[in-house]
């Protein structure tokens, strides 16, 4: 047996095995015509647990068996790392939407690499390799192996549980209008609605915007031309922007205003108003003043025609958008503010501010809230924190070794 494997540091057999595994994966993918059938809770948990147990038993009981030793060797690990990298490379170049690349690419699963057979088989073998190495470093326990255990063990847990638990991940979109309640959510992958165990009432949805931009619009070519700006970097009193032969200087600026009966802009509250700018325009010999505004569903945009161009003011990009909601479920009612990067946890779900009606912009009555439930998250995070702890120790060890050289 040993002779057949040759030197344990050699790459000959491991590289052949890795290539073979990838080819077998593509063959199964081609024949079956679909990706790996995934297991759901609790079958996936039994699978991961059983797999881990198998590795522990094999690693301890057959430690000196050459086949087991080969399965946990560095050259095999390296060949599998390269195989994972190459498969990821395919996934990183070909759009992973299940449609790209035509019929043949679809048949080989190239447009859904990460749920396909080649990736699954390589990961499975990789987990064997990684798992055995962790078992050998853990039994018998030595403090000097702690860094290895944390980093490799953490990676094993994160990879195995992240992939096996993907089937139990629920991500749904809850569309809700201002002043209304909704407990039904949209499941994008399956294009159907599902019932949630709680409901969301939207009290208020609001958007803050950055300063608007003054640009030239060329309707013939449907093109927007940004100008050269002066020392004042954003639209406000004194802001100056110029193009060849045209310049515009802001004389007065009202960030939130509406026209009165005579059409003159007057400052109003930020919820109602839109940005107005009084600008002095110099185009060739012409000099004149005019009001620009960004427009809204209720006010026509104020633009100025300059030959074949229009001088327009675009609303700024959104700075923040948030939903004031009331959540009702078994645990009772709870008010919360949802904002991007600030999700709220409720009854085992996490709620995220996802989007709004972008055509209505600031006047959107609709808020899109994403609800996510991931029962495997604590285990995967445990893996992440083990990786980070091992990583910090690796840094420390590396630094100490460096002092010796």
């Amino acid at each position: 047996m040993k002779e057949w494997f040759g030197d344990f540091r050699s790459f000959r057999v491991p590289s052949m095995v890795a290539v073979l595994v990838v080819m077998v994966g593509f063959a199964i993918e081609y024949i079956s015509g679909r990706g790996v059938p995934m297991l759901f809770w609790p079958a996936n948990a039994f699978f991961v647990g059983g797999f881990a147990l198998l590795l522990v038993v094999a690693g301890i009981a057959f430690r000196n068996h050459s086949l087991v030793a080969w399965f946990g060797s560095i050259p095999l690990g390296l060949c599998l790392i390269f195989s994972l990298a190459l498969l990821s490379l395919l996934g990183g170049v070909i759009p992973q939407d299940g449609l790209a690349g035509g019929v043949l690419a679809g048949r080989f699963g190239l447009n859904r690499i990460f749920s396909g057979w080649p990736f699954f088989l390589v990961v499975l073998l990789f987990l064997c390799n990684l798992g055995l190495s962790v078992v050998w470093k853990t039994f018998p326990f030595r403090f000097s192996n702690l860094q290895f255990m944390l980093f490799h063990g953490g990676f094993w847990i994160a990879l195995a549980c992240g992939l096996a638990g993907a089937t139990d991940l629920q991500r749904v979109i809850v569309p809700v209008y201002e002043g209304r309640q909704n407990s039904r959510a949209y499941l994008p992958q399956e294009n159907r609605m599902v019932q949630l165990p709680f409901s969301v009432y939207l009290e208020d949805f609001s958007i803050e915007e950055y300063s608007p931009q003054i640009v030239l619009y060329d309707p013939q070519n449907d093109r927007v031309i940004s100008g050269q700006t002066g020392s004042v970097p954003e639209v406000g009193k004194g802001y100056r922007v110029s193009w060849q032969g045209i310049s515009a200087t802001v004389m007065d600026y009202l960030p939130h205003a509406l026209p009165d009966r005579n059409g003159t802009p007057r400052a109003v509250s930020s919820a109602q108003g839109i940005p107005y700018a009084k600008i002095r325009i110099a185009a060739g010999e012409n000099r004149f003043e005019a009001w620009l505004n960004t427009g809204s569903p209720f006010v026509r945009p104020g633009v100025v025609r300059l030959g074949r161009f229009y001088l327009v003011m675009f609303p700024g990009s959104p700075k923040a958008f948030r939903s004031g909601v009331v959540l009702s479920g078994r645990s009772g009612k709870r008010s919360a503010m949802l904002e991007v990067n600030k999700p709220v946890a409720y009854e085992g779900w996490k709620l995220y501010q996802m989007g709004y009606d972008e055509n209505a912009g600031k006047w959107s009555q609709l808020s899109l809230i994403e609800a996510v439930r991931d029962p495997w998250l604590p285990v995967v995070y445990c893996g992440f924190f083990m990786i980070m702890a091992g990583n910090a120790m690796f840094f420390w060890k590396g630094m100490k070794q460096r002092e010796m050289t």
Binding site: V372, I387, F395
Partner: protein
């Protein structure tokens, strides 16, 4: 400080690096010029650091959003690594590679100027923004320096394999770079969970970050497997190309059309 001042500052930095390097060459004969040569080279980097600080104040957000902005940091930090390596380990040649790389990145910014834009999209407004990007930036800087050291080792090492310091330099730079790459990847996953609802979605940028992490993971296992030294140097020298794809190249790939990691202004 706005982008209008950038060409002058970038040119001044590059002139400082070039003049300092030239002076250092001349100071082999006239040792009196040695200290001024370092002074001039370091000034080039300090000028750039000053620009970044002033630009940060003017933008009212960390200038870490666009690729052009990250190149600015890179151009300031990589010569700093070169100077630190010389200060700590007395290895002089690395700084020239570092300054050349920094000048290259400044030139890209000069050829494709950014637009002054204060906007920071809501997804980026997070406590994770600075740690995630800075850890990655420093990782890229160290791995670029490691790649430069590896190229140097390949060409000098093929002539004589006596210089072991050069080999251990490229190794430790890669090791430190890998540690930071790992932190950057995990920080990114934790942030993604808070911002987008899931820690990993195989977004093209994530996929490429995973590939580059695997590439350096491969390097560490090649070392553990005691593979040939020159082979390791070739591996390190070329691994940086994968990082470059992850950093800049991803945006040009067909897979990146729907990437959530695109923060370039339209």
């Amino acid at each position: 400080m706005t982008l209008g001042d950038f060409p002058a500052i970038a040119a001044a930095s590059m002139v400082c690096w070039a003049a300092g390097a030239l002076l250092r060459f001349v100071s082999r004969r006239y040792s009196l010029l040695r200290a001024p040569s370092y002074g001039i080279m370091v000034t080039g980097t300090l000028l750039l650091a000053w620009f970044i600080a002033a630009y940060w104040l003017a933008l009212e957000r960390p200038p870490l959003r666009t690729l052009g902005e990250t190149r600015l940091w890179y151009a300031a930090l990589i010569p700093a690594v070169g100077f630190l390596v010389e200060y700590r380990w007395n290895i002089a040649w690395l700084k020239y590679y570092c300054m050349a790389l920094a000048a290259f990145f400044l030139s890209i910014n000069l050829a494709h100027p950014d637009v002054f834009d204060k906007a920071l999209m809501p997804a980026l407004q997070s406590v994770w923004f600075v740690p995630h990007v800075v850890v990655y930036l420093v990782a890229y800087v160290l791995l670029a320096a490691s790649s430069a050291a590896a190229w140097h080792n390949i060409f000098s090492g093929l002539r004589s394999s006596s210089d072991l310091r050069g080999f251990s330099l490229s190794h430790y730079l890669a090791l430190l770079g890998f540690v930071l790459l790992t932190f950057g990847l995990v920080f990114g996953a934790l942030w993604a969970k808070e911002a987008w609802g899931h820690y990993w979605t195989w977004d093209p940028k994530e996929t490429w970050a995973f590939i580059s992490w695997l590439a350096y993971l491969g390097y560490l296992h090649l070392v553990a497997n005691k593979s040939g030294r020159i082979g390791q140097q070739w591996y390190l020298a070329l691994s940086f190309l994968v990082l470059l794809v992850c950093w800049f190249g991803v945006n040009y790939l067909p897979s990146a059309q729907n990437s959530v990691h695109s923060y370039q202004p339209n």
